[in-house]
């Protein structure tokens, strides 16, 4: 049937990478998806210079899309600088997720990204602009 619930998505859903809570942590943030109320929290540890991500973990319950997206995104965070993460393009997060995301599930797919931005900036980040993010990346989308 659809391309959304591919095996690797379901594998990340069942056994998410980087799940848990780092304690102590240098950066932490929690946020929720307004459409379903799912909550996701993230904790990060930085290297000695306080510039690069040494470790990261996320926690919370959610749908397969939000869990897989956070799982895949956090896999790629270690060793990267905070400046790089601040400039992280939400379209890259969708591309890494590797399944077509339409407007109906965009917030699910970007919840982890939004929490990461909140952790880095120390305050709630706004949702990326839908038209901009989906403009050329959706490939027809998965859901209306």
């Amino acid at each position: 049937m659809d391309n959304l619930y591919r095996d690797f998505i379901l594998e990340h859903y069942r056994e998410p990478h980087n799940q848990g809570v780092l304690d102590p942590a240098d950066l932490r943030f929690a946020d929720s998806n307004p459409t379903c109320g799912d909550e996701l929290s993230m904790t990060l540890r930085l290297d000695l210079e306080g510039q690069r991500v040494a470790d990261v973990a996320f926690d919370g319950r959610g749908c397969a899309i939000s869990q897989a997206s956070a799982s895949i995104m956090t896999d790629g965070l270690r060793g990267r600088t905070l400046d790089e993460l601040r400039d992280l393009d939400p379209r890259a997060v969708l591309a890494d997720l590797g399944v077509p995301i339409g407007p109906a599930r965009l917030k699910c797919a970007l919840l982890g990204y939004k929490v990461l931005q909140g952790a880095i900036t120390g305050g709630e980040a706004s949702w990326p602009d839908e038209a901009q993010v989906l403009g050329d990346a959706s490939g027809g989308g998965s859901a209306p």
Partner: protein
């Protein structure tokens, strides 16, 4: 299966779909649309769509103010719609029918106008744990503004109002009891007549959220005995942007206006204003004119089917869906099992699958259901769920929709490797 009442004629959901242009629309799945989200908003029959177009095309002018032929025509249609609503809900007078945008606005009107002018610090407003945010947040705001207390009747594990808790709470002599007729998140039909009798015994004013009942069963505000009732046109085959507040004349007469401005005044000077009579006192500004024609057409369509027939039809679909979904391993159904206490709304969760994922996989099969908290987050908190998937039925659904839903949920479990 429920037995049809004597006055009820069987409804042919598939046949009725020919009246609704939306069902001509193909879905990505290649299968016809199975629309199971009417509790959120209903589809519109051609007669309603044409009534709105006809109002704009051939009968349009502003209401209340014109002396010319076209305006008189528009006015007659507008006030005619008011009479149609009054007859539909059993109101003693069309003067008690106030046009608003939707049930949310109707409930806000009651909370602001009636609530703020009558409540004092320490008074109790009693609501329930199953309310839509529209029948919860306005009362929270009212309590904050007046110093009143807001409390909530608890729910049983199967989604009914706990009668013992209701009795206990009523002993505290609430001034206002705000309750839904049918829960949008659970499907529970509340015994509103009984609740109203008990509430009146302790001197409370009863505010009924009828948004989920008026489209699906006979609503008689006189027989129920309530004091206010709120309806949304868009859930009952009508246009969006038009809703109704019904209230008892003596209450409405005593209430201050909610919104002020044009139309709602009798006389204005630079320093003061006198209010128009009800219902116009509560209808400031140019209303949704064409939409009232659409609402009247919707009522005409519903009357043609008969509300008893609609209720019997949905009871049968509920019973089939409850049995079919309940037989699937790992599916948890919310609300009462008794079809007499449960409208055509089924909230459910599939163990191991998030409700959003369930809805997306059903969508892939052309089945439109809702997933989320259904604007009733306290209900989700009561049952410790982040969200549910919700299927809701209306006149254009039939047993085919139920079968597709049940098969779709089996597919959800297959996709997630659960069967």
């Amino acid at each position: 299966m429920a037995v049809l009442p004597a006055e009820a004629r069987a409804i042919d959901g598939r046949g009725l779909r020919a009246d609704f242009p939306v069902f001509e629309r193909p879905t990505r799945s290649g299968r016809p649309l199975s629309y199971l989200d009417s509790a959120s908003s209903s589809q519109k029959p051609r007669s309603v769509i044409e009534a709105v177009a006809d109002a704009y095309g051939h009968h349009y002018a502003n209401v209340h103010r014109g002396v010319y032929e076209l305006s008189v025509d528009a006015d007659a249609r507008f006030e005619g719609a008011r009479e149609a609503v009054a007859a539909f809900i059993g109101a003693p007078s069309h003067r008690e029918v106030i046009f608003v945008r939707n049930a949310t606005e109707a409930l806000n009107l009651v909370a602001f106008s009636f609530g703020r002018s009558t409540l004092r610090a320490g008074d109790l407003v009693l609501s329930t744990q199953m309310e839509h945010h529209a029948n919860l947040v306005p009362w929270q705001q009212l309590a904050a503004a007046t110093g009143a207390t807001l409390d909530h009747v608890h729910l049983t594990d199967d989604g009914r109002l706990d009668p013992a808790d209701l009795a206990r709470q009523l002993e505290r002599r609430p001034r206002i009891v705000a309750v839904s007729h049918v829960s949008n998140a659970l499907g529970t039909i509340n015994p509103v007549g009984e609740i109203t009798r008990l509430a009146h015994d302790v001197g409370a004013t009863v505010v009924l959220d009828a948004a989920q009942s008026a489209p699906h069963m006979a609503l008689d505000v006189e027989a129920l005995g309530v004091d206010f009732a709120a309806l949304s046109g868009h859930k009952m085959l009508g246009p969006s942007g038009i809703g109704v507040l019904w209230g008892r004349r003596e209450l409405l007469d005593a209430m201050p206006p909610f919104l002020t401005g044009g139309s709602m005044i009798k006389r204005v000077t630079l320093d003061s204003a006198e209010w128009n009579e009800v219902p116009w006192k509560f209808e400031a500004g140019t209303p949704a004119i064409a939409e009232t024609s659409g609402l009247a057409a919707a009522i005409s369509y519903l009357d043609g089917l008969g509300m008893a027939s609609i209720r019997a039809h949905e009871r049968a679909l509920f019973a089939a869906a409850w049995a079919g979904l309940g037989a699937i391993r790992g599916v948890r159904l919310l609300g009462p099992a008794d079809a007499e206490q449960h409208a055509g709304v089924i909230s459910f969760v599939v163990d191991g699958v998030h409700p959003h994922d369930t809805a997306t996989i059903l969508d892939e099969a052309g089945i439109a259901v809702r997933a989320g908290h259904h604007c009733a987050q306290p209900v989700m908190q009561r049952y410790d769920l982040p969200a549910t998937t919700r299927a809701s039925f209306y006149v254009y659904n039939d047993l085919d929709d139920v079968e597709r839903l049940v098969e779709g949920v089996h597919e959800v479990r297959r996709v997630f490797g659960l069967s």
